[in-house]
């Protein structure tokens, strides 16, 4: 099955981002395809490379970046990003900024969209 993911909450404060990541790992392990991951609302904070958590904790943006390196399309909503100061300068590698149209495309090209938010 082809699946896309919508992430609506930021890292660490809410579990949504971790749940999305764990869901994706489980889906990939089952042989599903992840068409793309779209970060919206506070979800755009997942994409900043400036985060620097304690070493014994997970590094959320690095984790997303590594997923992007496998070829999964990682997209941050430009309007939501502009509101929150997420620019190309602070973007983690393998993640790109684009518009909500990309979410529409992901929906068109997927069998399922799974939302992770509050």
């Amino acid at each position: 099955m082809i699946i896309s993911i919508l992430v609506l909450e930021g890292p660490y404060n809410h579990e949504a981002s971790d749940s999305a990541y764990n869901f994706i790992q489980a889906a990939l392990a089952k042989g599903h395809t992840i068409r793309g991951i779209f970060f919206y609302d506070d979800g755009v904070y997942n994409a900043t490379k400036l985060m620097d958590p304690p070493q014994d904790d997970r590094h959320i943006s690095k984790r997303w970046s590594e997923l992007g390196a496998t070829g999964i399309d990682m997209v941050v909503c430009i309007a939501a990003a502009k509101r929150r100061g997420i620019t190309n300068e602070v973007l983690a590698p393998n993640i790109r900024i684009s518009g909500l149209g990309q979410l529409a495309s992901m929906i068109h090209e997927s069998d399922r969209i799974v939302t992770f938010g509050d």
């Binding site: 529409a104 929906i107 090209e109 969209i113 939302t115 938010g117 509050d118």
Partner: protein, 133 residues
């Protein structure tokens, strides 16, 4: 690869103003309406509070989105529904919800269509995708 024109539903379940969920869901509606998809929008649970008439966010110092909701029809977001039970649970009369546009000919206000939960559930089962806010 899936075909175009598939059925996509946006659900609004969060109360307005306390978070940005409702506001950014409206932006999704506006963008999706410009794509080839069979778009529907459903307000349910606390999301129905967004349709309560007479809201003014000036005192909160935030822009608010009531004008955007009032222009949904202008943006070709026309299949808009609200859950009857959610309205009832929150003491909102069905005829007290805001208009989302005006009829071109008569000028009569167009309001979200009130549906029973079972009707909404049936609509949900027919969707290709549901994007939940």
């Amino acid at each position: 690869m899936a075909e175009k024109g598939k059925k996509v539903m946006v659900t609004v379940r969060k109360p307005p103003h306390g978070s940005i969920y409702v506001q950014e869901s409206i932006e999704v509606m506006f963008i999706f309406a410009t794509y080839e998809m069979d778009l529907s929008v459903v307000f349910l649970d606390d999301g129905v509070l967004a349709l309560h008439a007479g809201q003014d966010t000036k005192g909160l110092g935030i822009k608010g989105f009531m004008a955007s909701l009032g222009a949904l029809v202008d943006w070709e977001v026309t299949n808009v529904y609200v859950d009857r039970q959610s309205l009832k649970d929150r003491g909102i009369a069905e005829d007290a919800i805001i208009a989302i546009g005006k009829d071109d000919d008569s000028g009569a206000p167009i309001r979200p269509k009130v549906l029973d939960t079972a009707q909404i559930a049936a609509m949900m089962t027919g969707q290709h995708s549901i994007v939940s806010f």
